[in-house]
Symmetry: C2
Subunit: 142 residues, 2 copies
Amino acid sequence: MKQIERRSDCPISLSLDIFGDKWTLLILRDFIFFNNRHFNELVTVEKISTNILADRLNRLLENDIVKKEIDRNNKSSYLYSLTEKGIDLIPIVIEIYKWGANNIDENNANSEFKNEVNSNFSKVTSEIVERIKTTHNNVYKT
Amino acid sequence: MKQIERRSDCPISLSLDIFGDKWTLLILRDFIFFNNRHFNELVTVEKISTNILADRLNRLLENDIVKKEIDRNNKSSYLYSLTEKGIDLIPIVIEIYKWGANNIDENNANSEFKNEVNSNFSKVTSEIVERIKTTHNNVYKT
DNA sequence: AATAGTGCTTGCGAATTACAAGTGCAAATA
DNA sequence: TATTTGCACTTGTAATTCGCAAGCACTATT
């Protein structure tokens, strides 16, 4: 894996150096919407190749956006989960969902959820954040 | 230019098929924050190469996110500007700004603007949207 | 001891990117 | 009128990255 070099100090440029590619935000979508947390679950993300997934997870680990722990329920497996910094990305992912649902034809958005996102963005977002925080804190308690 | 093929019908996946790369959202940042609208202005975007810029602008044109018109003030030049669909992307770009400003070290965010974005996101966003709409409607009136 | 599951890594051809240089056209200048 | 300048790209090419298939190391199960 090669870290993309810093193009400038603009917050947007710096952010895109980390997650501005075809796959990273889709992987984060899996954490957020599907709660997929094992490598073998994440590899179903729109058929991403395993080498690309491994590369992106490493980049996210390096940037402290996800963390990796041994799964207490299956010790030969790892659990990936969002850090605080990763949870902070949730509004971006939901904004992208919203834009796609409103602006791209033939998307499969759930119309109820789409309406919720359009009318109560911050409520939807904070509910998802809470759910993720609860789930991801329970790693050792399940 | 080759359009990335549709990976799935998920709104996020479809959105990232359009702007999920290192450069596209940075170009949109230039429209939004710097009001850069000519090819020669946009090419200063963190030193993007001209072939990549041309490719991305064509993709944005095809997807009805930007439009292209002859500049009335300089007929050998073109003005690119955001369509309604492009203006709808502004919240995404500002969320990315916000995340980068809050989560990446050594970013050059203006601290006043950063505070505004953190405390009054929707106000900041709608002000920027209004400014862009006004500017981009005045193409033929300046 | 053999098999299966999990999380990767490796090899390689194909596709994409970045950098430099060049092109075509309109407008300004000599 | 001829030449130069500015603008918006296009082309060529080497390097990088990607996607697919296969393989590997480790653990747990049978």
